[in-house]
């Protein structure tokens, strides 16, 4: 009981530290997504959107909203963990955690919760911004929406953690977001339905994991999707389990953390 209470206190301490970290630099962490997404809504939603017409039977701006929220959640949850965990490695303040009695799983959960909280907070901010441009927006399936929001933030926080474990320089923490995540997100159905693509590109798109995340979230918010929801949810949960196991194994072996 005493040990359990100690672990809980240490976990809360780490989560509080992680949240304070990104709130302290809110101009760098919270404001940019709101500004960027406002520009997307103005340009693609209000200016170009009416010329596009409808997508899957919905106003284009309405169709875009879930995609843009997911894009923000993915990039911010990933960025939070990769930059925070790499920074503690770089500054050697990871030693503060390693010398303490905190178990590896609590260290992992602490960083992941930091990423999830930022991802979800940004998601809420972007949703708030979207209501300025489309006030009549209503969420079709709140339970699915919230579930996918959290699952996605967890999944990409875990990916950020693994990236940070293997990173040896600040270049290493920007390569994957720039050259892997961003293209996959943009080609993952944020701005369009894959039904408008020729067969060959539609089939290729089906191999993009972002497509499943974005479409499952869109199903929750709007009730439309290009993919099977049970399959997509199953895959998200499957990858969360795989990545969690990988993170714990890497921490246990001391890869990137202990000499």
């Amino acid at each position: 009981m005493k040990r359990g209470n100690e672990i809980l206190v240490s976990l809360i301490t780490l989560i509080r530290k992680e949240i304070k970290r990104y709130l302290r630099i809110w101009v760098q962490t919270l404001v940019p997504p709101a500004v960027t997404m406002s520009l997307y809504f103005i340009i693609f939603g209000s200016l170009i959107g009416p010329r596009i017409g409808t997508m899957d039977g919905l106003d284009y701006i309405q169709f875009m909203i879930p995609g843009l929220i997911m894009m923000s959640v993915i990039t911010n949850s990933y960025a939070n963990v990769v930059s925070s965990f790499y920074s503690v490695k770089f500054q050697k303040s990871i030693e503060e955690l390693l010398v303490s009695p905190m178990p590896n799983w609590a260290i992992l959960v602490g960083f992941i919760m930091g990423g999830v909280s930022r991802g979800v907070l940004i998601g809420c901010i972007v949703f708030g911004v979207s209501l300025f441009f489309y006030p009549s927006f209503t969420i079709v399936n709140p339970l699915l929406t919230i579930s996918v929001l959290f699952l996605t933030a967890i999944l990409f926080s875990l990916m950020g953690f693994i990236n940070a474990i293997f990173a040896d320089s600040f270049d290493d923490i920007s390569i994957i977001p720039t050259f892997v995540l961003t293209p996959l997100i943009y080609l993952g159905g944020v701005f369009y339905s894959i039904n408008i693509l020729p067969d060959v590109w539609r089939n290729i798109s089906m191999a993009n994991p972002m497509l499943y995340v974005v479409n499952t979230f869109r199903e929750g918010m709007l009730g439309v999707s290009d993919v099977s929801i049970p399959f997509a949810l199953g895959m998200i949960i499957f990858f969360i389990i795989i990545l969690t196991s990988a993170c714990l194994l890497l921490l246990h072996r001391g890869v990137g953390t202990r000499q």
Partner: protein, 305 residues
């Protein structure tokens, strides 16, 4: 509970680069001891400390902290251990008070208790006035104190300091010596690595010397120093000389025209030297050790190994 604060058995470490840092160290440190772990750069001191603190993974061997096997119950062992690393290891952009309070939280100390403990610890180390300063604005000496504050926040029974006074001015160094003596007197076992051998001689009761990953000495400071056969002294004299005086029992050399270097064996009387010099019309104005006694011994041992 074990009478030993630390027991290390056949500890080995080979890094991925195939560098063999430790070749099988055996070492015991008694509870309440003030212990020096010395050795030249790259000897294996930091690897040993890193393994004890779980910052380095061992290749083989066993570590017990107050009888608790780190392979069996590392969290419990860590609770008894405080480590001051050689390099600064806190977030420079955080406030002093936040760094220490957070460290307490990592040890499972509640926020309310950790605030109280932080206040006590920071006051004890003269950091309370700087509690709201960002760590990056602190001087080198205060950063060192902050490292010690972090290591002490959970009141460990064993404190390991890896070169805690490196780069610290002499005044602050002596303040830290007093502080370490005080906490040792209160029952905290201390293991110290340092390049300042005077520091080890002043503070430590027992000593181990490590070189090329092996222990070359493990004994009491008194015993080690008693083995020093010859000590070098520097004498300032009142006469200007062109060549050193010839006294067969005491080999001498001139450092400059009014300064003599002399080697005195352990069984020789210094009074006898003064008498001999006086007979030659030379008076000694002042006298000091040529180098630290431990330093002479250390160099001798490391050269042998």
């Amino acid at each position: 509970m074990s009478q030993f604060a630390l027991e290390i058995t056949d500890l080995k470490k080979t890094y991925d680069s195939n560098v063999v840092a430790l070749k099988g160290i055996n070492l015991s440190v008694k509870e309440g001891d003030f212990f020096a772990l010395l050795g030249p750069n790259g000897a294996g001191k930091s690897s040993t400390i890193g393994i004890i603190a779980s910052l380095v993974t061992k290749t083989a061997g066993n570590v017990k902290i107050f009888g608790i096997d780190t392979d069996e119950n590392f969290p419990e062992a860590k609770r008894l251990l405080g480590v001051v690393s050689q390099e600064i290891n806190f977030n420079n952009f955080e406030k002093v008070i936040d760094i220490v309070t957070t460290q307490a939280g990592f040890y499972g100390i509640s926020l309310k208790d950790s605030k109280l403990k932080t206040e006590t610890t920071l006051k004890r180390l003269g950091l309370w006035e700087k509690r709201n300063d960002q760590a990056r604005t602190l001087s080198g000496g205060f950063k060192r104190r902050l490292m010690i504050a972090k290591a002490l926040i959970h009141e460990p029974k064993l404190l390991i300091l890896d070169e805690p006074t490196a780069g610290v001015d002499i005044e602050l160094r002596r303040e830290m010596w007093e502080f370490l003596k005080e906490i040792n007197a209160q029952g905290t076992t201390i293991i110290l690595t340092t390049h300042y051998l005077e520091e080890a001689e002043q503070l430590c009761k027992n000593i181990a010397i490590i070189d090329y990953g092996e222990l070359v000495e493990n004994t009491s400071m008194k015993d080690l120093l008693s083995r020093l056969d010859v000590q070098g002294f520097v004498l300032d004299i009142d006469k200007t000389l062109d060549q050193p005086p010839s006294i067969p029992q005491f080999p001498m050399s001139l450092e400059d025209s009014t300064t003599l270097n002399v080697a005195i064996k352990k069984d020789q009387s210094i009074n006898h030297l003064f008498e001999q010099l006086s007979a030659l019309g030379i008076n000694v104005l002042s006298m000091r050790n040529k180098s630290n006694r431990l330093e002479e011994m250390f160099i001798e041992m490391v050269n042998k190994s």
